[in-house]
């Protein structure tokens, strides 16, 4: 990101994001081979745009293709059709070659922090690896740990000495360290306590926006998405059925599937009503 990008006026920002979205998916699909022949279309003709400094929530039930879509955006999966472009350059699937440096601006936070951190390396080393990718030198190990509310002595420790919530914060710090323009969170809060979920989600949003990045936040927990997303995309069986600003999704959902998802959330009102 150049220095002019750091202090844009709001009007500028809106104008430009309307013209060229930071990330654009154009009828992207993805297929998996099934045992014994046949193919399963996990993502089916998805078109989406992500603006600058925007948080997009992606919701849907298990098996609807949310995670596959996240993998496609990061280049971890090869699309069967369609195009993904990030900041003007096409996203190609990761192969044996070194990754295109322009694509390092897309960083991912995975669901399970127990599996995504290396248990045999100190936190400092893992963060420094990611810091080396960001030429701007915006962060240091200490400032990263401070940003995610961890003590600075955490740098010397290994991941096993942290709780699930702390590990997920380290994973967020590592993703931020690379100076991403798009942060993709694939169910980053699903393995955490309900009371931590909202806190970590808000932390991700604040950090992403503050560092000038956009975020795609994937979750099946609609109440958290409502809390942090600017726009919400609802996915069903590989297709996006509805995209709208968060308030609009909640106040006047257009698609019956969205209505069904919203109706399934238990209300914390003490009335003893089972949703659905």
């Amino acid at each position: 990101m150049t220095s002019t990008d750091d202090t844009p006026t709001e009007a500028d920002e809106k104008h430009r994001s309307a013209e060229t979205p930071l990330l654009a998916l154009d009828s992207v699909s993805c297929e998996y081979k099934l045992d014994g022949g046949g193919r399963f279309r996990a993502v089916d003709g998805v078109s989406l745009q992500l603006g600058r400094s925007e948080v997009l929530g992606l919701v849907g039930e298990s098996g609807c293709g949310k995670s596959t879509l996240a993998k496609l955006i990061c280049g971890l999966e090869k699309p069967a059709g369609g195009q993904i472009s990030f900041d003007g350059s096409p996203v190609r699937a990761l192969g044996l070659k070194k990754r295109d440096t322009r694509l390092l601006g897309i960083q991912m936070v995975f669901q399970n922090p127990y599996a995504s951190l290396n248990p045999r390396r100190r936190i400092r080393d893992q963060l420094e690896d990611a810091l080396a990718l960001d030429p701007s030198g915006r962060w240091s190990v200490e400032s990263l740990l401070d940003a995610v509310d961890l003590p600075s002595d955490a740098a010397q420790r290994y991941s096993h000495s942290f709780s699930g919530g702390q590990r997920q914060r380290i994973a967020i710090a590592r993703a931020l360290a690379a100076g991403p323009k798009v942060l993709v969170g694939d169910e980053p809060i699903a393995s955490l306590d309900a009371f931590l979920q909202a806190r970590i989600a808000r932390m991700m949003r604040d950090l992403a926006i503050k560092s000038g990045a956009s975020m795609i936040f994937i979750s099946h927990d609609l109440s958290v998405v409502r809390d942090i997303a600017d726009r919400v995309a609802v996915m069903e069986a590989g297709r996006i059925v509805e995209v709208a600003p968060t308030d609009q999704i909640w106040d006047s959902p257009q698609h019956p599937y969205t209505t069904k998802l919203l109706a399934a959330i238990p209300q914390v009102d003490g009335k003893g009503i089972i949703p659905g």
Partner: protein
């Protein structure tokens, strides 16, 4: 008369030289036909309370106080005697249905195992009962389901099978430890409805352990809030959620993203 009455329950676990006090003076009751929800953050001791009733406390655990089950004292009960209650009168459903089942045995074998062991029921009769119970927990095509293996079911269906397994011996107490945490919201609603039905129809005393106040707000009759092994608040559902007395309960409810409806 409560089905289970927990009084001044203490649990400490000693590993090596350190002793951790997991439960401190926990007291509450479970009533037949009612769902008692236990809420708390991870490490608050809510699961350990359930496991103590089942007699499944970890190695090196020391229990004191009293758990009265219909006139029988469970604390300090010899393991052999506890084994005769577990699975028959005291049953449990776990968080992750995928790891609660043996992957290489058919569902029918697994949910009739305790029935055949405890009640010496012949296999054919037990399987017939299994079909009946699976129908009751609304597993599709129960007569085919008993011959299938766990990997052939989705998470929600497996959890229904786990409930079938838990109620097949006509228990009096059902402990459900985070039964919907691993499931989607849409599937969750179905499981909660099932739990409510089973509790009402079979007059079960249910202990529902969860960290989700949304779940408690839907099905629990009584809510117990725990923090660091201590019960900080007990009360009926509506009072605890809409007018929490304890500061900790208030902070838990306010930390939830959808909680503005409650205020």
């Amino acid at each position: 008369m409560s089905m289970i009455s927990i009084n001044g329950l203490n649990l400490s676990v000693t590993t090596g030289k350190t002793t951790a006090h997991i439960l401190k003076d926990v007291s509450f009751d479970l009533e037949a036909g009612r769902i008692t929800g236990v809420a708390g953050a991870s490490g608050s001791g809510k699961t350990q309370t359930g496991l103590a009733i089942m007699g499944l406390s970890p190695a090196g655990a020391e229990l004191s106080g009293s758990i009265d089950f219909d006139g029988v004292e469970l604390v300090g009960m010899p393991a052999k005697q506890h084994n005769r209650l577990r699975g028959v009168q005291l049953s449990m459903v776990f968080q992750d249905p995928a790891s609660a089942f043996h992957p290489m045995l058919t569902v029918g074998d697994q949910i009739t195992d305790h029935l055949r062991h405890h009640q010496k029921m012949p296999k054919k009769k037990a399987l017939a009962k299994a079909v009946d119970i699976l129908g009751r927990t609304k597993v599709p095509h129960p007569d085919e389901a008993i011959h299938k293996y766990p990997h052939q079911f989705s998470g929600g269906q497996l959890q229904r099978i786990a409930f079938a397994s838990a109620i097949i011996c006509d228990p009096k107490v059902l402990i459900a430890d985070e039964p919907t945490t691993a499931l989607d919201v849409t599937v969750q609603a179905g499981i909660l409805r099932l739990l409510r039905e089973l509790c009402d129809d079979l007059d079960l005393a249910v202990l529902l352990v969860t960290h989700d106040f949304g779940v408690l707000s839907s099905v629990a009759d009584t809510i117990v809030v725990m923090q660091n092994g201590v019960v900080v608040e007990t009360g009926d559902r509506e009072t605890v959620i809409t007018a929490p007395e304890h500061e900790y309960t208030r902070s838990l409810i306010e930390s939830l993203p959808g909680a503005e409806v409650a205020r």
